[in-house]
Symmetry: C2
């Protein structure tokens, strides 16, 4: 069974490739909060952006287009051992789907200006959804990440 | 450009089809919190579940396998008008990707026991990721949903 998707847009990011996101620099909490970028939605999907203003955060679902597929383990940069891939946000996973939450700063025609960008230039966008109260889990605990509290998991985690 | 994914598992849900999720019954905040189900991960991907215990919430990314593709507007059940699809969580969207956050109750072999299930039986699972501190946005505002505060957006929103 194959499930086929097509990009609805692309990300414009100050990070041109993975090496532009130095792990050490972007470890603090909120490290990406000030990283601005744009979500360019292809014109045929532009009408679907109606009413998006007013949501302060958006769920960005994208394709890890530079990743290796099929890996079941990842060695997170914050950690000293291999972890099961589904306990990480590693780009190298069975389905190359990424998810990150960005702050919506503005909208101009088919472009969304956002902050909190932790993906690279030309990342294909698969979907955009509003972040809602059901996505807020203030009581969450974070497994192996808990011992690294204060560090920020980025896509490599 | 086509992006091809294959399911890594399936959801087992008390909701056998969409009609089993009556909109009126499941409108209150936390309405789905007690709905239990299982995420069955296919055996070839089971090793990737290592270390997942300890994360209290998981991000479940799935395929809306019963939805209509390509719609740019949705009429949310909580609302009195059509909204741009990217300002809703409607299953009927250009790429049939769903995202919901579930509470991890336990793990037995290749089965994750979870609560907070708002999807139907046999929903194909595309990915599972840990919910981390970067996914907590306590300052979020919710656009057109704000006037319906207290109501719970479900997949139909």
């Amino acid at each position: 069974m194959e499930i086929i998707f097509k990009p609805i847009g692309v990300v414009h990011s100050p990070f041109k490739n993975e090496q532009d996101i130095p792990q050490k620099k972007f470890r603090g909490p909120g490290a990406f909060d000030k990283i601005k970028g744009e979500l360019e939605i292809f014109s045929e999907f532009k009408a679907g952006l109606k009413d998006i203003e007013g949501f302060s955060y958006l769920i960005l679902i994208f394709n890890f287009h530079k990743s290796e597929r099929g890996k079941l383990f990842a060695h997170p940069p914050l950690d000293n051992q291999q972890r099961g891939v589904f306990a990480t946000r590693s780009p190298n996973r069975p389905n190359a789907i990424g998810m990150t939450i960005v702050k919506l700063l503005g909208k101009k025609d088919n472009i969304l200006q956002v902050a909190g960008i932790d993906v690279i230039e030309n990342t294909p966008i698969l979907d955009i959804k509003p972040y809602t109260n059901r996505d807020q889990k203030p009581d969450a605990t974070f497994g192996w990440l808990d011992k690294n509290r204060g560090l920020t998991p980025i896509f490599g985690v």
